[in-house]
Amino acid sequence: MSESPLVLMKDIVKRFPGVLANDHVTFELRRGEVHALLGENGAGKTTLMNILYGLYKPDSGEIYVKGRKANIRSPRDAIRLGIGMVHQHFRLIPTHTVTENIILGLKEAGFVINYKKMNEEIKRLAESYGWKINPDARMWQLSAGEKQQVEILKALYRKAEILILDEPTSVLTPQETRALFRAVRRMAEEGKGVIFITHKLEEVMEVSDRVTVMRKGRVVVTKNTRDTNPQELANYMVGRPVIFEIEKKELQPGDPVAVIKDLYAMSDKGVLALKGVNLEVRRNEILGLAGVTGNGQVELVEVITGLRKAVKGRVIIDGKDVTNRSPREIMELGVAYIPPETLRWGVVPSLRVVDNLFLKAYRYPPFSKSAVIDWKKVYEKAEELIREFEIITPSPFVKTRTLSGGNIQRLILARELSGIIGGGVPKLIVAAYPTKGLDVGATEFVLKTLVKYRDMGSGVLLVSEDLEEILRVSDRVAVIFDGKIMGVFKSSEADIEEIGLLMAGVKEKAKAG
């Protein structure tokens, strides 16, 4: 008689508008195992786990927990069944203490909460996994790694036997990662089941007993980790030999179009996000900026484009000092900006496609004379841009929010790259995470377009968290960590291992690019 698995998800189907996120997925978690769920971004891993945690309702399929059929309608149901999930973005209350965050909603805490006893219990539980946590500390005082520990403790304190960790290492330092792996192994030894969502192959090999690979909403394979190897997993994950070649002219980079000297700036939270950045982007060159998200990339592009004030340092574009000038002045010098989180910062979703296309050019001739917009000219040009940038839309007059993410990104490219005052190509293109969340086709289009403009003479600053993408299209790579540039390399000579270490802030070794 074999023991029934902790979790069995059978034939799960989940559809979002326009996407089949889970296509008849079957997944099993056994007692005492660490089960890695591997796949690229958008493969459907997180969707599947959100279904298990009750955040989404599956369109069809069945879930069994410890052999019994379960109807999980909300996280509350999931918690009751012994399922705990730690999200990529922590769900904690920064002004409350560790203990308060952990015991919220627990009847066992008593009416008058016995904080002394609770603190003691939580401390002991944390120590059993090798963690040192002060239960009286407020959340905002803790590091990302400690916050994650609190999230895990929150689940364990509720006697969770099934723990879902969604990309848990993305916010951790290497040391914190090792401590997490030790704790995860410990949990498995205790007979719990841990689901480890990741897209990093080394982590799968290091921590898991079994691995399930997902691609485009389907399960490709489930294997014992010791029976496989990273190369095989990579092939399962992408499903075809990776890396599509992008044609690029051999060009000698020209004069610098943007020079950033010793730049300092604050983040929204009022702490220093840039700590002396030095960079140079030249004509006919794509400079890739690699780094883990949140190390100052967004602040840097915002200072360059005039959206954020520099505390110290200089931004020189095309020979002119534009530090702390207004966004419009900088734009009029020939700077194109593809902002992060396009839907939020890049377009006005409730305006028509044509309006969004001309949000930049509308105030200049030939589209407006004095204060009046020449709509006929605008419409003509819109048709042209829609064709040139392959924007798929029923007409130029529909609301922009009805377009898919890929088409909205094309719209932004069209607006930013064509809308140069006085014609010509942009001198500098600042592209912040331009392919994030896009499908393969749209990604390819965005990258090809950037290369095309680089060939025509623009200098491009490409910010991305996808190192492979950066290496594919950039001429040089700069690595940013904690608001500082850790090193600049020629892409052809770049060593992925070394860049990876620099991204983690491991060593500081600058080479002339």
Binding site: S74, P75, R76, I79, R91, L92, I93, P94, T95, H96, E100, I103, L104, G105, L106, K107, A109, G110, F111, V112, I113, Y115, D268, G270
Partner: protein
């Protein structure tokens, strides 16, 4: 000199009780994420109804009825803000305007008589036209009330003054030491998380808003029958908004609200004193202006993100919660 100090301090406690009752309730509402800008309207309704109900039924019944009306008024806000997820600022201001208008209407000399007769047909003719009502009796605490200075300042007041002080400590304890308090604070900080952990967000917000309404109306009743039992239309004179500012100065902490109430109450009492000894014609108005200036400054400070973080504004204050949008 001691006598003067004694009467100023005792006056500060009495005047401050208006602010203390109102801000205690508002602290609970805001801790749960509901900003009740209808506080001024609820207070003036509390004052007007305590006038009418006291004449009709006497003190005890009047206080009970006023509290019930306060809860009903705040129930309107709760339905609009929690269930219908409307803009709390708009709904709150509407409630204030309603309260000011309604209180003026019910107490208008041409209307008041018939309102009172509806409440109690046996009222004598004279009761229908007076502008006053009997004040709540003072209850000196035996023994303690005779201590010089401290006695008259702290232990020679009516029941509502004592109640406000006791409530401050009780509400502080509940807020920071009990499970209900933790749920309340969490709902105002991160309702999605509280929901996921089994806290009934809507219920908590309803209850907190009702507590706020009950205490707001009680504050208005106290202002009339406990402090100055002579009816003047619009007699709350913006004190509901001052209480809102006090909540911020008290950083949403019931115990700190005591200090803030004494401060605001004291400023007002000193201004009365200055008027009594005839100190300048303009100066009293300047002093009278101070609480309002503090109010404006405190409310403006709220708009700075860094200030928000430091003083611990409930992160979800004013933001409706809907499970689907998470």
């Amino acid at each position: 000199m001691v006598e003067w100090l004694e009467s100023v301090l005792a006056g500060a406690v009495q005047m401050g009780t208006v602010y203390l009752l109102a801000s205690l309730g508002e602290i609970y509402a805001e801790r749960s994420g509901i900003l009740n800008l209808g506080l001024e309207g609820i207070m003036i309704m509390g004052a007007a109804l305590s006038f009418l109900f006291t004449i009709a039924y006497g003190h005890l019944t009047a206080l009970i009825l006023v509290v019930i009306v306060g809860m009903l008024l705040s129930l309107i806000l709760a339905v609009m803000a929690v269930s219908l997820r409307l803009n709390q600022v708009v709904v709150g201001l509407a409630l204030t305007l309603f309260g000011i208008g309604m209180s003026g209407f019910l107490t208008h000399p041409t209307i008041r008589g018939s309102v009172l007769l509806h409440l109690n047909p046996d009222l004598p003719e004279t009761a229908l036209i007076i502008q006053e009502a009997p004040k709540l009796p003072e209850i000196p605490i035996p023994g303690l009330a005779d201590i010089p200075l401290i006695g008259p300042v702290l232990f020679k007041h009516n029941i509502l003054v004592y109640l406000a002080l006791i409530l401050s400590f009780a509400m502080w304890f509940i807020l920071f030491k009990t499970r209900i308090g933790l749920s309340l604070r969490s709902v105002g900080e991160n309702p999605a998380m509280a929901d996921a952990l089994g806290v009934n967000v809507a219920l908590v917000r309803y209850l907190a808003t009702l507590v706020g309404g009950a205490l707001g109306a009680l504050a208005g009743a106290y202002l009339f029958i406990g402090f100055q039992p002579f009816w003047v239309e619009g007699m709350t004179a913006g004190r509901g908004f001052i209480a809102l500012a006090l909540v911020i100065l008290a950083t949403w902490n019931p115990l700190r609200a005591i200090l803030g109430s004494l401060l605001f109450g004291g400023v007002e009492v000193i201004q009365f004193r200055l008027q009594l000894i005839g100190l300048g014609a303009q100066a009293p108005q300047f002093v009278l202006m101070l609480p309002y200036i503090v109010t404006i400054v405190a409310l403006s400070l709220l708009s700075f993100e860094s200030v928000k973080k430091r003083i611990g504004v409930p992160a979800a204050l004013g933001i409706p919660y809907s499970r689907e949008e998470v």
